[in-house]
Amino acid sequence: MDMSTPVSEAAEAQVAIDVDRVSKIFPGEDAVRALDDVSVGIRRNEFFTLLGPSGCGKTTLLRIIAGFEPPTMGALRLDGTDISRLAPDQRPINTVFQNYALFPHMSVARNIGFGLEMLGKPKREVNETVDRMLKLVQMEALKSRKTSALSGGQQQRVALARALAPHPRVLLLDEPLSALDLKLRKEMQIELKRLQSETGITFIFVTHDQEEALTMSDRIAVMRDGRILQIGSPRDIYQRPAERFVANFIGESNFLDATLSAGHVTLKAGGGAFAVTAPPGVADGPVSVLVRPEHAAVRAGSPAGDELPATIRNVVYSGDATTIHLELGSGELFKAKMSNSTGGGATLPSQGEPAVVTIAPGAVTVLKD
């Protein structure tokens, strides 16, 4: 994790939202600890994603930042000021809701102008900003429409414009793309990224979609059971997951048994010793390691040097790549994914035949658990 490198004074000062040891317990007979001692600093002008399966606490954290829920414990600071006790209308933070929550009795323009109107801005300023926002989300033509007459994608744009219009210091997005179809979702991902860099506003984005998180974020926090497991850039999270859960949740993974000894691991399945950087707290001895399928190559023949003997179980062609399912000498199952552009899949042995697996140097990651 690159997070462990010393944070400079300058980076510290750039923190927009500082979540400081926040816990949330929903009272009741079956009291739920939705957030468990969560701390995270979200930097100014950052596209930050809270990623995790449903029930991991990501939406609860977002609602606490917005002010819809008070934290049970801990503090929340915006640019250094404690805002944990402020009502939502007292916070310069706006939200794009999952169901958009557009006001059905108002036109598109009045929806977008609502925030500024409530802030008591003069009419001229409201109208100018509304026009600018309509242009920003390319909705000028639908200015005076009723919101119920809009398509899902258009409603999404109005919801975004409405939340951006008061120029909040932080914009919260609660799975805003989940109701859109795949093509529209891809378009909106690029659109959101563009809006974020054009407006210079800090975006906090909640999703359960790992691909969405990887494509859009500057940094990602992976959450599970009310806790943050890892914070890092998409590259960090994908290539150096700290835990098995993170590795499994993001991308495809092979988990193999291995032995760690003096900065090197030896796989149970054979092959040579791989140089690794073990995460802190992992001692020499049996460990679990991760190998991404695309970091392994397969060919016919018998093993030589550091190659692993294996038997081919299944070969799946998927257009751009071929996935080969194998059984290693240790009995462990293994997936290798080879790009078809290099012709890797063309010369493969077929089902049941022996093969050898080569793992790229540096592709073995030791996991914490």
């Binding site: 009502a87 939340a163 495809e252």
Partner: protein, 284 residues
Amino acid sequence: MAETSLPATPESAAAAAPRGRAYNARTLPGFATVAICAFVIIYAPIIILVVFSFNAGTTLAIWEGFSLRWYAQAAANEQVQGAAIRSLYLAGSAATIATVAATMAALATTRTRRFPGRTMIYALINQPLMVPEIVTAVALLIVFAWVKVATGHNSMIYLIAAHTAFCIPFAYLPIRARLETMDMTLEVAASDLYASKKQVFTKITLPLLMPGIIAGYMLAFVISLDDVVITEFVKSAGQDTLPTYMLGQLRRVVTPEVNAISTVILLAGAILVSLFFWFSRGRE
């Protein structure tokens, strides 16, 4: 990463699932006969009443030609005028107070966290729907008699109070129904966009609730306009409403004047109830 596109498939599978032909009661034998009989039983007496309100003769049994004389006579009758004004004043006051109370009750039972006794309160609000009207009428007669003796005060206030009480559940039900279908995220979104609690209510909750409030008001108005039992028990001398005036007339000579008044009330009621359905549909 190919698996991320998977969640889209269950929906398309559900959409493609075969759907059985909907059950249709109209294909049952005798459906049309039963329906026609029911409508005749409900509407025939009313149609006869309306027809005889235009009778030129003085009886309710023999048709002697078309005339508007009973409408003219009713309109010129000072007692009818007084009763009509009293009825409208009573219905207007009771429906207004009941709608305000019902709106507050509906907000309290839908816009608060669940609290112990909420179901109980719901039942208490709807009490007038469950207690037989005659019981309420006798109870009010006794209580108001005490109050009248104790205070010496005697005005329409007693009728307004009584009507307000039994109008509340009729105003409450459509308002509550509207609140329950309203997306609560809208109010959250408004507060997120810097609206104060008061602004959330006046800019979001109230405008969206309006169709329910108007529907509730009209229903309460019709119910009050129509009431005989409680009014008859609670009213003092000279406080006849149209229904109690007509009841009084029936004890003497029955002329088509009563039919004419009934027809006007029927028309007013029909218009209000139609408007009620129009508004409760939400105008969206």
